[in-house]
Amino acid sequence: MGAMKKSKLILGALTVLALSCQPGSKGDKLPVLGNPTTDNGVTKEHTIRPFTYFSQDSAVITNDSLANGIYIADFFFTSCPSICPRVMKQMLRLHDEFKNVNGVRLVSFTLDPKRDSIGKLSVYAENIGVKSDKWLFLTGDKDFTLDLADDYFVAALEDPSAPGGFDHSGKIILVDKKGRVRSFCEGTDPTTIPDFIKDVHALLNEEDK
């Protein structure tokens, strides 16, 4: 084999190897995020705790209602004067990316149920121009939601000195059918979204198998 042919072969093999390492390619598995716990000798992966919320359509939504597909989650409140509009813009970008893809939904939990009634969430969703079969806006118990945010690795706390009364991070989280966190990105940084989109595709491929 000529030296030229040999180097072409090596280059080709390296290209295939490099492509196979790209997130989102078939056969690539996303990690399960969070520390596993051991109970009576049984190791359990980190999962989102069971929850019950109301959607913008007054429908009762539990973690079981979401288990028929994967979902993209964030935490927000409608009167948030700081990072929420920026994060929502990126959620909307993800909505537009996956609006025709079955098995992917978006879920936004309000941290401020006192002001964010079902009616208000309904108007909010309408103003953004999205429908509940693709994007759920959920309201429920405030303290439970603040604890639930921990499961998604989102920092959220009530703070009267913070703009709007709540401090929270702008993470966007990817959750699989088993309620496990598989990826995340920063909703305040649009440059992190393309890699996140690849991760959503990777998880869809994994769930299809």
């Binding site: 409608t78 009167s79 004067p81 700081s82 990072i83 509009p85 920026r86 929502m88 813009k89 909307l92 009616g119 208000k120 108007v123 909010y124 309408e126 103003n127 953004i128 121009g129």
Partner: protein
């Protein structure tokens, strides 16, 4: 032309250039601090919730009222049909508002120049 006259001309041009840069920079800074969180860095807004500034008819003067909107803000619809809301900026000076509007106009619209005297008149006519 005498040497001193030439130097004076150069210095005047430089001063003018810098003053233009400063006013533009102030407008940009005000936008980043007070507006970009909702209207976004590129002025694209968020569908019907936060109107886009890109190509807005308010900026090229086709629609009146942008000065009053900045000054008084927009109250949420009492009927609850929209959550459109904007905080008021009562403390923004006329100079700051002129610089902001010129930045917005240049960046997101046709570039209609806004003058200080125009802003003063429009602001005076805003309902409290």
């Amino acid at each position: 032309m005498k040497k001193t006259s030439k130097a004076f001309l150069v210095l005047t041009c430089l001063a003018l250039y810098h003053s233009c840069q400063d006013t533009f920079t102030q407008g940009q800074r005000i936008y980043s601090t007070l507006c970009a969180n909702c209207h976004m860095d590129d002025g694209s807004g968020l569908n019907d919730l936060i109107p886009p500034l890109k190509g807005s008819r308010y900026l090229n003067g086709e629609k009146e009222g942008i000065v009053c909107i900045i000054k008084n803000g927009i109250r949420a619809d009492s009927l609850g049909l929209t959550l459109k809301y904007m905080p008021s900026h009562q403390k923004m000076t006329e100079v700051e508002m002129t610089n902001l509007l010129n930045y917005l106009s240049t960046t997101f619209s046709s570039g209609k120049p806004w003058t200080l005297s125009e802003i003063k008149t429009l602001k005076k006519n805003c309902k409290p």
